[in-house]
């Protein structure tokens, strides 16, 4: 399968392991991602909070590049990038006059904007059967809390998932043999936009999310966004220094948990670079299961 790939800035920086594990996993699943040539930042939160046009233009440039490259479908592993690209696509399609203006700003024509997938939708497209088929290790001792964060399934209406009770990520995680838990805060915002400027808020919000997952019996959190990951993983340090009784919990990228099931080890997937040490036993007992 061929697909356009919009990595997003974090993928080359703070979320290098996400990129790495994703590429490994896709290889096994026979997917060949084509990176958008010379893609640039989507503008993330900072663009849309300060200039509507800037945010549209930055996203539109990438969409135009993808189109030029002949890509019909692209996926963005970062929920924020995905959300920006999708929102821009929608606005350009709904408001032709705006599209015209943006085209002049970016000096590119936009005709057929590619289909945009988030990572969960994309794995859905690949199919949980395919994952199950290639599975080497059954992660049955995993009790995963799938964390969608605020942006992955929003805005409602233009997103294919149910925006209040999504279940798509659980479906994919279950294909690894892991159990998934039902919990309350899988959509609650962790405040990533203020991760640096208002750490106090982010620590509060992230703690609530982590506590809820732990309370509902999770032993690992699965995320589908580099921003979510840095907030839930890295910020556990800050939470611990503020709340001494806080118990930590490892946070994996969706691609990493899939990678473990496909037989990669922690280092191959970059899990060793996380702040919270991942030490759930991963046993190769597929043979046992089938026996």
């Amino acid at each position: 399968m061929q697909i356009g790939y919009y990595p997003g800035c974090s993928q080359e920086g703070t979320a290098k392991e996400y990129d790495k594990s994703l590429r490994e996993v896709l290889k096994v699943l026979d997917v060949d991602p084509t990176e958008i040539n010379d893609w640039s930042c989507c503008g993330a939160t900072s663009a849309h909070v300060t200039s509507h046009k800037l945010s549209l233009a930055l996203s539109a440039r990438n969409l135009a590049l993808a189109e030029k490259q002949g890509l019909k479908e692209i996926f963005a592993p970062c929920a924020a990038c995905y959300n920006r690209l999708l929102t821009s696509k929608n606005e350009l399609q709904e408001h032709p006059e705006q599209k015209y203006e943006i085209e002049t700003i970016i000096e590119e024509k936009i005709n057929n904007i590619p289909e945009i997938y988030n990572i969960v939708n994309f794995f859905q497209k690949i199919g949980k059967d395919k994952i199950a088929e290639k599975k080497k290790i059954d992660l049955k001792n995993f009790k995963a809390a799938c964390y969608y964060g605020c942006l992955l399934v929003r805005p409602s209406g233009i997103n294919s998932d149910d925006s209040e009770q999504p279940n798509s990520m659980e479906e994919i995680v279950k294909a690894t043999g892991a159990q998934t838990i039902d919990w309350n805060f899988k959509l609650e915002c962790c405040g990533a936009a203020h991760s640096i400027a208002r750490q106090d808020i982010v620590v509060d919000l992230s703690k609530k999310i982590l506590d809820d997952a732990i309370k509902h019996g999770a032993n690992v959190i699965v995320v589908a966004c580099p921003m979510c990951h840095s907030n839930l993983d890295m910020r556990q340090q800050n939470i611990k220094s503020k709340f001494s009784d806080f118990k930590e919990i490892p946070v994996l990228y969706l691609s990493e948990i899939l990678g473990l099931a496909l037989g990669f080890d922690k280092k191959q997937l970059g899990i060793d670079t996380h702040f919270i040490e991942f030490n759930l036993p991963v046993r190769n007992d597929v043979q046992e299961v089938s026996a």
Partner: protein, 666 residues
């Protein structure tokens, strides 16, 4: 043709701006006009006599009156003309008051325009043909569809006036939603206590034919003359033998598989069942989707125990036809379900409130059942999940109503009131309990309604919080309700034991289908539409079909009952005479010209156009042509404008007449 022209001064009203003498003089020269006069008040007795006398003296066979709007006195002048022996449809009115003297100031200009309008009326009347009003007989029987309080009330009113009624109810029992209610606002009297006697009255009324577990399949004909086909669904119980002893239900081994519709899924029922003990008729039905006999061929327990040998597994649906003169629609409503809805639905559901996921997040009707003395908890407040008495209840209003994104933009009108009632009933029984109501506005327009809501707040201590709730989630057996008090501007979080959602009233899911069957318009929500929202609120635009209760729009019991009685009265107005009179403005087909393309049939909103087969003497089909059913045709003329070969014409507004008017004006 000898035409007389009569110009009215209307006192000064026309005379001040129009030189009536000049108009009358000019009209005298129009071809065909043999007599032309002006007079101070044409509609007065002397004025009318002037017309009658002129008809006699000049042997007129056409009359044009230049006066006020035809909407005002057309009837008066037509009658005068008829009294003098001329066909009333050979009288035309030129509107010299509303369209000339009152809207223009210059006398010359106004007079010129008046002359034009007279010329044009003269040209039209020349091409008029004598017509007679259409008379159709009336069958004095009423069909009431739906046996809720609206249908019951309408049926009883009509029957008590001495006319026959056929009442069709699709469920096994009549009673509708009112039978499920505990107590009713604003008086808090017991719903079943006031309803049950009415249900029995319907059952015993000699003029009412009650068809429960039945549905209307087809409606043909027109006002006064409908032919209705009704499907009586198989109950698998012979209603002539069954005594309603209930032995069969007692013995039926299926007890848990079917959820009780009447108790809103809070309890279960047997496969053979009556919806509730006071059901009318008290005759069970078998739910074949759960009955073991129908699934596997085994069991027959009910048949064995029935002392009356009333169980009849081989029973089939029966088709009945009824001759009917008037139809009253009373099919009521449904509640917006809080569950996730099917994909194809407009409704998106409320995931943020937990869909149907949380057992103690219930809707208004479920609350009614819990509060009802005849309900699953005998009226004791217990929450569905664990039977504990809820100490803190949150009520949320406008769920699915006033919500364009997840429901409907309209206000359901009754939920403010029933929520106040719910909170009150709860506080009356659980004195130390806390009740919170999240609302956006309180709509309590009605006699003693506002007082009722204030009583809940002032005397019963219900806490009203202005704001919509964003989310509910479960934590340690409590439901965490996240809201904002928009008056104080503070976020509010309540850990409730139970949450009641005042979900919207929505049209019956099959209402639009039924409307199409019956031939009445419905709105985008599926509610039936009245002809005029102010002056004809209980009539549909199809003659002889009336509307009652919540099938028209959300309404409470007093409103439903009032509407039902009004609909009954409208039906009886129809029965006041043996024949119906109708304006003869209908379409007529020229069968020689008609090519049988049936474009006309497609555009007719009243299904008035039928297919007629023309046969030769041997009975061989020569061709098919359009045929206008004069009972159904309303005279809109759309078919006339549509027909490519001009083979169908609207009498009174034929192409020829209109061309003559166009020519006369220039």
């Amino acid at each position: 043709m000898k035409i007389g022209v009569f110009i009215c001064h209307c006192g000064e009203n026309i005379g001040r701006t129009v030189d009536c003498a000049r108009v009358s003089k000019a009209a005298g020269f129009f071809p065909g006009v043999v007599h032309s006069v002006d007079y101070k008040y044409m509609c007065s007795d002397p004025g009318q006599n002037l017309i009658k006398q002129a008809i006699k003296d000049f042997k007129l066979d056409g009359v044009v009156v230049g006066s006020c709007s035809p909407h005002m006195h057309e009837k008066t002048f037509r009658k005068a003309v008829a009294d003098a022996g001329v066909n009333p449809f050979l009288c035309e009115i030129a509107n010299l008051r509303e369209h000339v003297s009152w809207v223009h100031e210059d006398i010359d200009v106004a007079t010129d325009k008046a002359i034009d309008l007279i010329r044009f009326a003269v040209e039209k009347v020349k091409r008029n043909t004598p017509l007679t009003t259409i008379k159709v007989p009336v069958t004095k029987r009423t069909l009431v569809i739906g046996g809720g309080i609206s249908g019951i009330q309408a049926a009883l009113d009509v029957a008590n006036a001495g006319y026959e009624v056929v009442l069709v109810e699709k469920e096994p029992s009549i009673g509708g939603h009112m039978s499920q209610l505990s107590e009713t606002f604003p008086t808090l009297d017991c719903s079943q206590c006031i309803l049950t006697p009415r249900m029995v009255e319907v059952y015993q009324h000699p003029k009412i034919k009650l068809l429960t577990y039945s549905e209307v399949e087809k409606v043909e004909g027109f006002i006064g003359n409908f032919k209705v086909t009704i499907r009586k669904k198989a109950r698998y119980v012979d209603d002539t033998k069954c005594t309603g002893c209930g032995d069969c239900m007692q013995k039926c081994p299926i007890k848990k598989k079917a959820l009780s519709e009447f108790d809103e899924q809070l309890t279960t029922r047997s496969a053979i069942y009556v919806p509730f003990p006071q059901a009318v008729p008290n005759i069970p039905v078998i739910d074949t989707s759960v009955c073991t006999y129908f699934k596997t061929g085994k069991c027959s327990m009910c048949k064995k125990v029935c002392g009356r040998d009333a169980i009849f597994f081989e029973q089939e649906d029966q088709m009945l036809t009824e001759e009917i003169g008037a139809i009253i629609m009373a099919t009521g409503y449904k509640l917006y379900t809080i569950d996730k809805k099917p994909e194809d639905s407009e409704i998106k559901g409320y995931g943020e409130y937990g869909y149907g996921k949380y057992k103690d997040v219930i809707d208004g009707l479920q609350f009614e059942r819990i509060a009802s003395a005849s309900g699953p908890t005998s009226g004791e407040f217990m929450r569905p999940s664990d039977g504990k008495t809820p100490k803190k209840i949150v009520f949320i209003q406008c769920v699915g109503s006033r919500d364009e994104s997840k429901g409907f933009s309209y206000c359901s009108k009754i939920c403010c009131m029933y929520t106040a009632k719910h909170a009150m009933l709860y506080k009356h029984k659980v004195h130390d309990g806390e009740a919170y109501v999240f609302y956006m506005d309180i709509r309590s327009g009605g006699k003693m309604y506002e007082e009722f809501v204030r009583r809940a707040i002032e005397e019963d201590g219900v806490k009203y919080i202005r704001g919509r709730v964003s989310r509910i989630y479960e934590e340690d057996g409590k439901y965490i309700v996240k809201g904002e008090d928009t008056l104080a501007g503070v976020p509010i979080t309540i850990d409730a034991d139970m949450v009641v959602l005042a979900t919207a009233m929505v049209a019956q899911p099959d209402a639009s289908k039924l409307a199409q069957t019956v031939g009445i318009p419905y709105d985008k929500y599926g509610y039936f539409v009245e002809v005029h929202p102010k002056l004809r609120p209980v009539e549909s635009s199809s003659g002889g079909i009336f509307l009652a209760g919540a099938c028209h729009s959300p309404r409470d019991i007093p409103d439903s009952v009032a509407m039902a009685s009004a609909a009954a009265a409208k039906a009886m107005v129809l029965f006041g005479s043996d024949m119906l009179e109708r304006e003869p403005t209908i379409a007529l087909v020229n069968e020689n010209l008609c090519a049988g393309c049936f474009y006309c049939k497609k555009v007719c909103a009243y299904n008035a156009i039928e297919i007629k087969q023309i046969k030769d003497k041997q009975g061989n089909l020569i061709k098919e042509v359009a045929f206008v059913n004069s009972g159904l045709c309303q005279g809109c003329g759309t078919c006339n404008a549509t027909c490519p070969s001009k083979s169908i014409e609207l009498i009174g507004y034929t192409d020829e007449q209109i061309y003559a008017e166009i020519s006369a004006l220039m």
